[in-house]
C-alpha cells in the first residue's frame, strides 16, 4: 500500500500547487450554460462578451452534437471593453430578434463581461422597459457564468437554475406533475428518461430537454431555431409540481473552483424550488448501473405510488443476466474514470458493482465533494486505494496512470491520446466526443443504457485482448 500512498500524495493536492494546467479536463462555464439553454423551446443563446468565446463554443458543440448550434455574441470590441457593453447588448438583442424571432433569449456572461462588471440583469430590465410595447418581446434569462468560477458543468447547472428562477411562478394549485432535472446527459438519454416517466404515467416537466434541438432530423430548409425543448409555460409551472427529482449528487454545489468568496447563493434548480415554493426534492444520482438505477426507479415509484412497470423489471432482469454472462471478462480490471463529477460518480458506482476497480476517478471540476460522494455512493464497493483527483488535467492523469497501469479508460474522447500512448483501450462516453460518430446517441442511463455500456466495455476488453494475443481466438 506504500505505493498507492505515494501516488496519492502526488495527486491529491488541488491544481493550486501547479501554476499551469496542461490539457484541461474541463471546458469553460458559458459552454455548459449554452447546452442547458438549448433545452428551452424557441431559444437563442447569446454570450455577452467578445466574439471568440461564442465561436469556439459553437465549434466545440457542433463537433460533439453534429447539429447546427447557433449562439450569438454581443461582439465586444476594445471600445466596448473600456466603456461597457450597454450599446452592444441592445443592438445584439435587436439583431437577434430581427433575424431569429426567438421566444426566449438566454444570455450567459463571459469572463470579460463579468470582469468589467457588466450588470446584465439591469441591461435586460432596461431593454424590457424600453420595449414593453413590442409584441412578442422574448423572455430573457440570464446566467452569470464567468469561467474563472467553475467548469462547464457548473455553467450548465447555473443556467438550469437561472431559467427556473426566472420563470417559475406559483399561481394556482399544486399540479399532478413532477419536475425532472436531468443533468448534463446525451440527447438519447434524455429521450430514455422521458420514456421512463411516460411509462410510469407521470406528467413531467423535464428540463433541460435538448433531445431534439441538439439531435434533430434532416431538414429541407434551415430552421433558425430548431423545434423541441422545454417550454416557457412548462417551466412556469415547475413551482407547482408536487415533487422535483434531480439527478446528480454534486451539481453546482460545493466550493467553486478558485473562488475567493463563497456568498452561499449557489443553489440547484431543485433546491431553489424547494426553498421558495416548498416543492419537495428527491435527489438520486445519474442512474447508471443497477444499484443507482434502482434508486431512481424506486424514487419514481414512491413519488407516483405506482409499481415499477413490468417493462423495466424485465430490463433489469435481462441486465442481471447480462452481468452474469460477462462478469469474467471485466472482473478485477482496473479502470480510469474521468469527466464531469456527477458522471464520474455514476460510472464509478457502475464499474464497482460489476467488479471493475476504479483505480483513478478524475475530474476537472473542483467541488471538493468528489471523494466524499464516491465514498458514500460506492459504500462497501469503495476501496481505499482509489485515487480521486479533482481539478485534474489530462497531463496529471497521465502521470498517475503511468504508475497505476490501468487496463481501461472510461470517459470522453479527450483521453484518447493517453490511451494511445499507453496502449490501453478507451470506452467513450460523456462530453465531449469529437473523434467518433454518435456522441449524441450515447446511452448509459437506466437498465437499458447500462446494458449497452456493459456490452461496450466487455467487447472493448475482448477486442483488446484479441488484438494483443499472439493467436487470436474465435470462441469465448
Amino acid at each position: 500500500m506504500q505505493k498507492a500512498e505515494s501516488i496519492k500524495q502526488k495527486v491529491m493536492p488541488s491544481g493550486d500547487t501547479f501554476a499551469s494546467s496542461c490539457n484541461a479536463c474541463k471546458q469553460c462555464t458559458p459552454l455548459g450554460a449554452c447546452i442547458a439553454f438549448k433545452g428551452l423551446e424557441g431559444v437563442l443563446p447569446m454570450l455577452h462578451g467578445s466574439q471568440g468565446c461564442a465561436t469556439y463554443i459553437r465549434r466545440y458543440l457542433i463537433s460533439h452534437f453534429r447539429e447546427p448550434v447557433d449562439i450569438a455574441s454581443s461582439n465586444f470590441s476594445e471600445e466596448t471593453t473600456i466603456f461597457g457593453g450597454n450599446k452592444n447588448f441592445n443592438t445584439g438583442i435587436d439583431n437577434i430578434i430581427k433575424q431569429y424571432h426567438p421566444r426566449v433569449i438566454a444570455i450567459a456572461s463571459t469572463c470579460l463581461s463579468e470582469t468589467i462588471g457588466e450588470d446584465v440583469q439591469r441591461l435586460i430590465f432596461e431593454y424590457q422597459e424600453t420595449h414593453n410595447t413590442m409584441p412578442d418581446l422574448p423572455v430573457m434569462i440570464f446566467a452569470s457564468t464567468p469561467s474563472y468560477q467553475g467548469t462547464h458543468s457548473e455553467g450548465f447547472h447555473e443556467a438550469v437554475f437561472a431559467a427556473v428562477k426566472t420563470l417559475a411562478e406559483a399561481s394556482g394549485p399544486v399540479g399532478d406533475h413532477i419536475n425532472l432535472f436531468s443533468n448534463m446527459i446525451s440527447p438519447e438519454d434524455i429521450r430514455h428518461l422521458k420514456e421512463i416517466v411516460e411509462d410510469f404515467s407521470i406528467p413531467v416537466v423535464l428540463f433541460p430537454d435538448y433531445s431534439d434541438t441538439l439531435d434533430n432530423t434532416s431538414w429541407d430548409s434551415y430552421r433558425r431555431i430548431p423545434d423541441g425543448g422545454t417550454t416557457v409555460d412548462e417551466l412556469k409551472k415547475s413551482a407547482l409540481a408536487y415533487a422535483s427529482v434531480e439527478l446528480g449528487y454534486i451539481l453546482n454545489s460545493g466550493g467553486m473552483n478558485g473562488r475567493i468568496k463563497d456568498n452561499g447563493t449557489k443553489q440547484s434548480a431543485g433546491e431553489y424550488l424547494k426553498s421558495k415554493f416548498d416543492v419537495p426534492l428527491v435527489r438520486t444520482g445519474l442512474p447508471v448501473g443497477i444499484l443507482e438505477s434502482d434508486k431512481f426507479f424506486n424514487a419514481l415509484s414512491s413519488i407516483s405510488g405506482k409499481a415499477i412497470p413490468m417493462k423495466y423489471q424485465r430490463q433489469r432482469g435481462r441486465l442481471v443476466d447480462l452481468y452474469v454472462d460477462g462478469h469474467k471478462y471485466v472482473s478485477d480490471k482496473r479502470a480510469v474514470i474521468y469527466g464531469e463529477e456527477d458522471l464520474v460518480v455514476a460510472l464509478a458506482a457502475f464499474a464497482a458493482e460489476i467488479g471493475i476497480k476504479p483505480v483513478l476517478c478524475a475530474s476537472g471540476g473542483e467541488s471538493g465533494k468528489l471523494a466524499g460522494t464516491l465514498r458514500e455512493v460506492l459504500g462497501k464497493n469503495y476501496y481505499e486505494d482509489m485515487v480521486v483527483g479533482q481539478g485534474m488535467s489530462f497531463e496529471r492523469m497521465e502521470e498517475v496512470m503511468q504508475e497505476l497501469k490501468p487496463d481501461l479508460m472510461i470517459g470522453n474522447s479527450k483521453g484518447y491520446y493517453i490511451a494511445r500512448k499507453m496502449d490501453i483501450p478507451i470506452v467513450r462516453t460523456g462530453f465531449p466526443i469529437h473523434d467518433r460518430l454518435g456522441a449524441q446517441h450515447t446511452h448509459v442511463l437506466g437498465y437499458e443504457g447500462t446494458m449497452i455500456l456493459f456490452e461496450q466495455i466487455v467487447n472493448t476488453l475482448l477486442e483488446d485482448k484479441q488484438r494483443k494475443s499472439p493467436v487470436g481466438y474465435k470462441y469465448m
Partner: protein, 450 residues
Amino acid sequence: MAEYLEGRENQIVTKGIDSHELVGGKPSVAGSVSQRACVFCGSRVVLYPIADALHLVHGPIGCASYTWDIRGALSSGPELHRSSFSTDLREKNIVFGGQDKLYQALHELIDKHHPKAAFVYSTCIVGVIGDDVQSVCKRVQKEKNIPVVAVMAEGFQGSKKDGYKIACDALFSLVGTDESMDVSPLSINILGDFNLAGELWMLEEYYKKMGIQILAPITGDGRVKKIQNAHRAALNVVQCSGSMIHLAKQMKEKYGIPFIKVSYFGIEDMSDALYEVAKFFKDDSVMDKARELVKDQLTTLIPALEPYKRALQGKKAAIYVGGAFKAISLVKALRLIGMKTVIAGTQTGNTEDYRLLKTICDDGCIMVDDSNPVELSEFVKQTGADLFIGGVKERPIAYKLGIGFCDHNHERKLALAGYDGMLNFAKEVYETVTSPVWQFVNRSTPFDNE
C-alpha cells in the same frame, strides 16, 4: 433574400446583378452569429505548428481548452505544440492579478519541457486586468535563456485577421537571431503553409527535385532555430498571404528578402508556384527540372481526374472559407473538375481580395463577407448548390439542408495541396456529391440537374 442584418448590405454582392463593391474587413455586428473567431484565434492558428516551442495561453481555461490540438498541423519531430498549456486563471488571479502565476508557470513548464522558445498568448481578460505580460516574458527570457515572446492577442481587439499580424510580429522578433545553419544559395522560406495532413512534405519533395532548399517552413512543421535563421534565405514564398504577408513585408524591409505570393491548391496554381520560384533564381536547370516535374505529375493526374470530372459536370458548389486566396484557388480547382461556384464567401477577405475573387467567379455567383448560418443557408437554397466547402461550423448547415460537405480548414486530416492533393480533392468531392444517402433527404432543388 429579404433580411440582411442592418449594416451588412455592402458585404454581399451577386456578380452580374449588383453594382456595388464588396467591402471586407468590417467588424461583425453585435448579435450576429458570425462564423468568425477572435484575435487570439488568429495568432494561435499561425503560431500553432511551431513544434518545439511552448505555447502558453494566459487566461481562463476556455481559450486554451478549445484550441487543444484542433489543427491538423503535423510535425516531423517534437510534438510540444499538440499540448494545451494554460495558466487557468481563477477568480483570485482576476482580482489580484495573474502575473505571478504566469511567471511561475513559465518556469515550471520550461524546466519540464525544455522548449526552444515560448509563446505567451494573452487573452481578453488579461488585457482587462492589466497584467504586464511583456515584462514577465522579458524576465523569464533572461533567466531561462530562450526566447520568450509575448503575443498580445486579446480577443476583443478585432477579428481573427488582426491576430495574424500579431503572430507575424511575434515571428519577426525571432527572425535574425541565429546564424548557425548551412544555407544554400538556392534557398527559400515557405510562409503560410501549415503542414495540414503533411502537405508541406509534399512541397518539400517538389522543391527538392528542383534543387531548392527550404530553409524555414513558417510555420508548418516549424522549428524555432530555422525561423531564427530565416533571414538568410534568398526568397520568401508566401502561400496564405492573408496570414503571412505582414511577415514577408517586414523581412523584405529589414533583410531585403523579396517575396512572391503563390497558392498550392489546384493544378494551375501549384504549377505556377513552382515556375515562379524557378524564374526567380534565373537558373535554367532549375526551370527545366520544374517543367519536368510538372509534366510528370500531369501525365498521371489529368487522366486520373477524368472520371470525376465526367460525374461532376455541371454540379454547383458553395464556398465559405477563412481567407480569400483559398477561395480563389477553390473556384479554379472546382472548375477543373467540371463544377461551378455559386457562392463564394470568406471570413477575413479584404476589399481588394474580393475584387480579385470577382474576376474569376461566374455571373450569378453570390459573394459574401463575414456571413452567418441564416444567410448561408438562404444562399444555398437560392442557388441550389450541391456541395458546400467550408469548416466545421459550416458542416451542419450543409448537412441539415441535405447537401454534401467538404472540409477545407485548419482541422482537416486530408492533404489537398499539390498534385496529390488535387486528386484527393476530386475524389472527396466526387464521393461526397454522388453518395446515395442524398436520396433520403428532402431537397427542394432536385439533386440531378444534367
